[in-house]
Amino acid sequence: MPALPPANAANYSARETARRTRLLRVLLPALSLALVLLAIAWLNPRAISYFGFSLMLNLAIPIALATIAQMFVITGNELDLSIGTFVGFVGCVTATWLRDAPLLGIAVLLGSIAVYALLGALIYLRNLPSIVVTLGMSFVWQGLAILVLPKPGGKAPDWLMAITGFKPPFVPFPIIAALLIAAVVHFGLMRTSYGAVLRGSGGNPAAIGRAGWSLLRTKMVLFGMAGVFGVLSGMTLIGITTSADANIGNGYTLLAIAGVILGGGEFMGGRVSPVGAVIGALTLALAASPLLTFMRVPPDWQVAANGAILIIVLAARVLISRREA
């Protein structure tokens, strides 16, 4: 074996640095979550209990599912500004038709997933900016939600409430559900052979096209998956809250984007992490209300605190990247 020239040695250490930086970035979401948990434990030790977690993480699961939905869209370098109102629409359908006329309800939900996939096709074929298309769709979903359920009310199907109300021994349900979601999506997107193609379509679309893959199909699959997880998010949300409201999901659009970014995802280049996204969603769910309440932050400033958390995490990320450069 020929001796490595000095340039190679330099390359080696550069690669090591890149690796360390990436590791740090992967750990950042987990660190943020740990920090939030520590703060809660310090402020209110009683919250760290089976009951406390069940309560605090109650709404974390629908947020995590919506975040995963957004993550699929971001994988393909797009953005979905309609996921929140879509979750609201699904919620309204769940609390009405899915209970009263299950077949119709299922058909409508499946149809809405198909609409998502078709939006992906439209965005790809006509080369449209996803921000504007999904902004328009956010009105459509909101309008449909109001048409389905003009006044807050409805009731979740009993079987759904039984699932979301499940109390496993020792470990609270939301934690189990979060682990399950992270594991399933991680396997699907990061471990399967088509998952690599999907991520590649965000990393270098031209190369994926040149290798003979259909970019139309990858875009449709990514949007379709966003639809699937949006439906799951709306259903679990209604299972937990038991009744619906057309505006119930509106805040989720921003939470979902924030969750993906907190979890180490990037807007461009197909660099996403399902595990990170779920951790990001949990962090947001904990930071959004329980922590701030324990800290006696007045409700007026809780929205601002969410904005500040986002800015701080992104700033930390920039600092890490700068150290690399």
């Binding site: 074996m1 020929p2 490595l4 020239p5 340039a7 190679n8 390359n11 080696y12 550069a14 690669r15 890149a18 690796r19 990436r22 471990r191 052979s193 088509y194 690599a196 193609v197 991520r199 590649g200 965000g202 990393g203 270098n204 031209a206 190369a207 994926i208 096209g209 040149r210 290798a211 003979g212 893959w213 280049g269 197909g270 660099r271």
Partner: protein
């Protein structure tokens, strides 16, 4: 003798146009089984377009493609792959967010199911070992973390991996541009072994020695046409240069450049590349034409950009004493504004000087445009036409007009003659000399060695550093190439 072998690929009368630009103008080309064809020509001669057609990335405008004797009517990317034609593109086609193994999977639809990652990793590791023994790339490395040279190694190795699709022809487009001489040698040795096993290879390279030493047959392209095709033994360097065109032009340039007795003024640029370890630095005086040479991507563009940025603020190791302008070589990504007219494209560098009161004076803008249309001979009926209505050469002239029409005293040129026809080149060479005579300074990075004849002296770059400073008298292509490989200079 040659004709007795099987013809793998047969192109007849292939044409391709991009708007007003005629990229391919009736190309006939045969590739036989078991040979390495060297494809040479200046930038913009049509090599890359031809290869994009051969891999199905671009559709032909006219002409036929036959593979293994049958005419392909609906040629496409997937058809080309199914027929065993692969390409290593000049711009890398790896996904930076995926690992080496995952990138291998992208090219092999059959790598799926349980254990696909293990299979993909083994496949690429085995090929890397075969081509580049002693490489230190792990299949689990994320491509974005690898150096550019290693990425190119992965890209090359991936093209030679085989699963269920056949592999008959690999096109290598400047495969050694980012490799050091050791790995480049490994690759070329492998290409000979590959060809020896009855497969075919097209080798596109700027390094004529590399082509002469490794190809069985050489095809020369010029202005979208094949102008020569024969056994490699028939060619030597001079003959290749002559068929590529520009030999007569070269004599003219050399004659013009030699008779100049220019007034050289005070120093206006001093620049040390960031990675320079000794005290060598680039020094330019007003009225000088300075060449930046060496293999592509060895820090020339980086230094030009650093000088460009230093003018806006301070930067260590670089001093600039006069306003400067840059002429981009990559017109699409660095140069033109596609929504705008020719006149606006020329005016953008000078808008601040055209303001009267609060507003940009339309009259002054039009005057600037028409003055430069005349001086640099932009061929268009109306300077208010969109910039894309021009041919590539004329677009480039508009970029020159933008820089030369400004108040800049220093002009940076980033390989600006890429894909430009010889007529345009001669017009612009004359203009550059005139402008230098009037005291302007030119820093000229070029990948076409004969252009260096225009320069007063030349800095040769390697690995991000200046490795030699040659005066015009010492300037030969061999010397430039030798300096760029010889770090000890």
């Amino acid at each position: 003798m040659v004709d007795a072998r099987t013809i793998l690929v047969k192109l007849e009368g292939v044409e391709k146009h991009f708007g007003a630009v005629r990229a391919l103008d009736g190309v006939d080309l045969n590739i036989f089984a078991g040979e390495c064809v060297g494809l040479v020509g200046h930038n913009g001669a049509g090599k890359s377009t031809l290869m994009n057609i051969l891999t199905g990335t671009l559709a032909t405008g006219a002409g036929t493609i036959s593979i293994s004797g049958s005419v392909e009517d609906r040629y496409s990317v997937s058809r080309a792959l199914a027929l065993g034609i692969r390409c290593v593109f000049q711009e890398l086609s790896l996904c930076p967010n995926l690992s080496v193994a995952e990138n291998t999977r992208i090219n092999h639809p059959s790598l799926k199911g349980i254990g696909w990652q293990r299979k993909a990793a083994a496949l690429i590791a085995q090929k890397l070992d075969e081509i580049f023994p002693g490489h230190s790339i792990d299949p689990s490395d994320i491509v974005g973390d690898l150096s550019i040279g290693r990425r190119q190694m992965v890209e090359v190795a991936r093209a030679f991996t085989v699963t269920d699709a056949p592999l008959d022809l690999v096109i290598l487009d400047e495969p050694t541009s980012s490799l050091d001489s050791h790995t480049a040698g490994q690759l070329l040795d492998f290409v000979r072994r590959f060809v020896g096993s009855g497969k075919s290879c097209i080798l596109i390279s700027h390094l004529l020695g590399e082509v002469l030493g490794n190809a069985d047959r050489i095809v020369v392209m010029r202005d979208g046409k094949v102008v020569a095709a024969d056994r490699a033994a028939v060619f030597d360097r001079d003959k290749l240069v002559t068929s590529m065109g520009g030999a007569a032009a070269r004599e003219k340039v050399a004659a013009e450049a030699a008779k100049g007795t220019r007034e050289i003024g005070p120093i206006c640029v001093k620049a040390r590349p960031a990675r320079q370890r000794d005290d060598m630095q680039l020094v330019a005086r007003s009225g000088e034409i300075i060449g930046l040479a060496g293999l592509a991507g060895n820090g020339q563009t980086d230094l030009l950009l650093a000088i460009f940025e230093a003018a806006g603020g301070s930067r260590s190791g670089i001093e600039v004493t006069a306003p400067l302008a840059l002429v981009a070589g990559d017109r699409q990504s660095d140069g033109i504004f596609p929504q705008w007219s020719i006149a606006r494209n020329i005016g953008i560098r000078s808008i601040e000087r055209m303001v009267r009161g609060m507003l940009i004076s339309s009259r002054r803008e039009a005057e600037l445009a028409s003055r430069w249309q005349e001086r640099i001979k932009i061929r268009t009926p109306d300077m208010n036409n969109n910039i894309l209505s021009l041919s590539g050469g004329n677009q480039q002239k508009a970029l020159f007009a933008r820089a030369l029409g400004s108040d800049a005293r220093i002009i940076l040129m980033d390989d600006p003659m890429r894909g430009v026809d010889i007529g345009t080149k001669l017009d612009v060479y004359d203009l550059i000399r005139e402008e230098a005579d009037s005291g302007r300074t030119f820093l000229w990075y070029t990948t076409e060695t004969e252009e260096l004849d225009n320069c007063d002296h030349v800095y040769v770059f390697h690995g991000g550093r200046i490795v030699a400073n040659l005066s015009r008298d010492e300037l030969t292509e061999e010397k430039v190439i030798q300096s760029s490989f010889d770090e000890a200079v």
